[in-house]
């Protein structure tokens, strides 16, 4: 009887303790809004990115939280945008008006990011664009929008730069062929390729578009071969790329191959065996990027999530979260306007945020981070970063 009363009293005391601690904690946290597709078409991507945001928040809090605010903990307020632009807009609005957030991050694709960032900008809350690449996002002069991801058109410039670096000795790339799927993705990237390469004096001698899922591309391979292209730039999904690579090999045509993003740097390509060997692919980030921060991120991610290897969007999400925390720390305030000014001045050269390929993360007057892509090559059945030299594991093999 007595013992049970003591137990009950102890339990009540404990509960009171927990409650007051909880209240104190809630007062102390700094709230960062995260807009992600947790359900809907892009749920898998959203779920992956959330892991990276959470890993960064955990690291920030374990390292003592926001020091200039007395060690306040970072709290991620996650909103599900259901892979829909209109929900992204309304969730951004909800986080700003009722969520008491100092800053917003997100929101996966360009279509879901643009409405959310516009609401955020109008309300004077800074918005970090993590992974959307549509050029116009940082070309509208929105004062509160900052983008960690590159612009889509920069990929073409990176490819041109990479080809120029490959052009040592006799094997020069003077003529290229383009092979692209005819949806918005293939068309916009190949248009950028064409304009950029022509400006740099590289001839585009063939343009072959195809509908994704075309079961045979032999005739296209024959046309590319007949064009005399030294390199073929492929912008497609990985299944079409396998069909094209097989057809080119059967046509005894072995140009330099440069694929694009996740349509190339994909496990399916490695299954294809010999035809994938020595092909290149341009991509935002690779887990083997030779930077201490990047390698530490990959290690921490694998330890936290059952040996999972992160993808480029997760590196962007991780970096964005750290940048947000650094900006709040520099502002020494939860006030969105002050955080915005701190973001505009931020300059990251090392530390956990510096996982992306370029040396410095900082935002120009339009809020755009200058960041390049990397080139991965298939060497002995694995994707290896070979360009730029500053973060490469080894030199490109020709």
């Amino acid at each position: 009887m007595l013992s049970s009363m003591i137990r009950r009293g102890a339990a009540a005391a404990l509960m009171a303790c927990a409650l007051s601690a909880g209240a104190a904690l809630a007062q102390d946290t700094v709230k960062i809004g995260v807009l992600l597709p947790i359900t809907g078409n892009n749920a898998a991507d959203g779920g992956r990115m959330l892991k990276a945001h959470e890993l960064a928040a955990r690291q920030i809090n374990e390292a003592g939280g926001i020091k200039s605010l007395g060690g306040a903990k970072v709290e991620l307020v996650v909103a599900d945008i259901q892979s829909k632009p209109e929900i992204s807009r309304s969730e951004a609005d909800r986080l700003i008006t009722r969520g008491n957030v100092s800053l917003l991050m997100g929101a996966w694709a360009s279509a879901t990011t643009i409405p959310a960032m516009q609401i955020s900008d109008r309300n004077g809350v800074p918005f970090i664009v993590t992974s959307a690449v549509t050029d116009s996002i940082t070309e509208q002069g929105l004062k509160n929008v900052f983008r960690v991801a590159p612009k889509a058109k920069w990929f073409a410039e990176n490819v041109a730069g990479f080809m120029a670096d490959l052009n040592t000795g006799d094997a020069k790339i003077r003529k290229v062929g383009l092979a692209f799927e005819d949806g918005p993705y293939g068309q916009s990237v190949s248009k950028n390729y064409k304009e950029t390469l022509l400006a740099k004096g590289v001839f585009v001698v063939a343009e072959e578009s195809f509908k994704t899922g075309t079961p045979d591309l032999s005739t296209q391979a024959a046309k590319l071969k007949a064009s005399g292209a030294d390199a073929v730039l492929i912008v497609s999904y990985v299944d079409d790329e396998v069909v094209l690579l097989r057809a080119m090999a059967a046509q005894k045509f072995n140009p330099v191959i440069i694929g694009f993003g996740g349509g190339h740097v994909h496990q399916t390509l490695l299954q294809a065996g010999g035809i994938a060997e020595k092909t290149f692919g341009i991509v935002e980030w690779m887990p083997d990027v030779a930077k201490p921060a990047s390698l530490a991120f990959v290690k921490a991610f694998a330890a936290a999530f059952n040996n999972e290897i992160p993808l480029s969007n997760q590196a962007q999400a991780f970096s964005s979260t750290w940048i947000a925390a650094m900006a709040i720390d520099a502002a020494a305030s939860r006030d969105p306007a002050k955080v915005r000014d701190a973001l505009a001045r931020i300059k990251v050269t090392d530390g956990p945020a510096a996982v992306l390929p370029d040396d410095v993360i900082e935002f120009d007057e339009r809020g755009q981070n200058t960041v390049g892509a990397v080139v991965a090559q298939v060497i002995d059945g694995k994707f290896v970063t070979v360009w730029p030299a500053s973060v490469a594991q080894q030199k490109p093999v020709r």
């Binding site: 072959e208 075309t214 045979d216 024959a222 007949a226 059967a250 399916t268």
Partner: protein
């Protein structure tokens, strides 16, 4: 701009692709000819046969050409189960309900495959996938040449069976007139069961061969379903010779359009051909019906 070499390549590739399309379409046209049922799930049974071919290679190292002898009986069995489990019960229903049944089955199978195998592409990386045989100035990928040859052999064999055996005569009788066949003492159920058994069974040959030229994923069957329908309708529903002719025409037209313009434009060609065929010969390219 199109040189002779590229034109020759387009003709050779187009004929090979056409023969492969015929390999998909022949089962569809047989089932329709005999049973008057449009099987929208045909592509999904192709997908299952492709997975079977993939796993025969991945788990047991069986070459896709040999896998035919395992996958074909499997698909024939699936055809029988399909008849007794689903189609037999839908035969008495109005046509629109029968379509709904096979359409529903198609979506069900795609989603079951998505759950079981995930959405990723699987490949059979054979050494011969990148080898080719020279036909004039054109180079034909070896796996495609094998599939095209298999298609011609299969169609010839089916034609002979329908022409020369009693079994074939029964099938043709049912195709000509259900009531007439029943009056002659032919059991409809048995003929229908065999028609689906063979119609789905032909995919047991197609599946492993296509898996080695292409890739396997839950939606791969849909790449061929629409084209197979175009071929079957243009060739005259239920008509083998028409299906082969239609398939070769579609393959050739697609490929030449791809050489002249681009593969994007080529993708629209089968449907343009269908419209022309419907306006010009609504009864099908070959009016005298071989299978019926």
């Amino acid at each position: 701009m199109v040189t002779f070499d590229i034109f020759a390549q387009a003709v050779v590739s187009g004929l090979a692709n056409g023969a492969i399309y015929a390999l998909v379409a022949v089962g569809l046209t047989l089932v329709f000819g005999v049973m008057r049922i449009i099987n929208f799930a045909h592509g999904e049974f192709l997908m299952i046969a492709m997975y079977a071919g993939y796993f025969a290679w991945a788990l047991a190292g069986i070459d896709p050409v040999l896998a035919i002898f395992i996958v074909t009986p499997l698909l024939m069995l699936i055809g029988v189960l399909l008849y007794d489990g689903i189609i037999r019960r839908a035969l008495a229903a109005p046509e629109i309900n029968q379509m709904a049944v096979t359409l529903g089955l198609s979506l069900l199978l795609q989603n079951l495959a998505l759950m079981t195998f995930k959405g990723d592409n699987l490949l059979i990386p054979l050494a011969r996938a990148t080898e080719s045989i020279a036909i004039g100035p054109a180079l034909l990928q070896l796996p495609q040449a094998i599939a095209a040859l298999a298609s011609l052999l299969l169609i010839a064999a089916l034609w002979l069976v329908l022409r020369l055996t009693d079994f074939g005569i029964m099938m043709r009788a049912v195709a000509q007139s259900r009531d007439g066949a029943v009056l002659c003492g032919i059991g409809l159920g048995a003929v229908y069961r065999w028609a689906l058994c063979i119609g789905i069974g032909t995919l047991g040959i197609t599946g492993p061969l296509l898996a080695s030229t292409l890739y396997v994923n839950p939606h791969v069957g849909a790449l061929f379903t629409l084209k197979a329908f175009v071929i079957v309708i243009a060739g005259g529903l239920g008509n083998f010779g028409g299906a082969l002719l239609g398939a070769l025409l579609v393959g050739l037209a697609e490929s030449i359009a791809g050489a002249w313009f681009s593969a994007s434009i080529a993708a629209a060609v089968p449907f343009a051909l269908l419209i022309v065929a419907m306006l010009w010969r609504p009864e099908g390219l070959i009016a005298r019906r071989v299978a019926r």
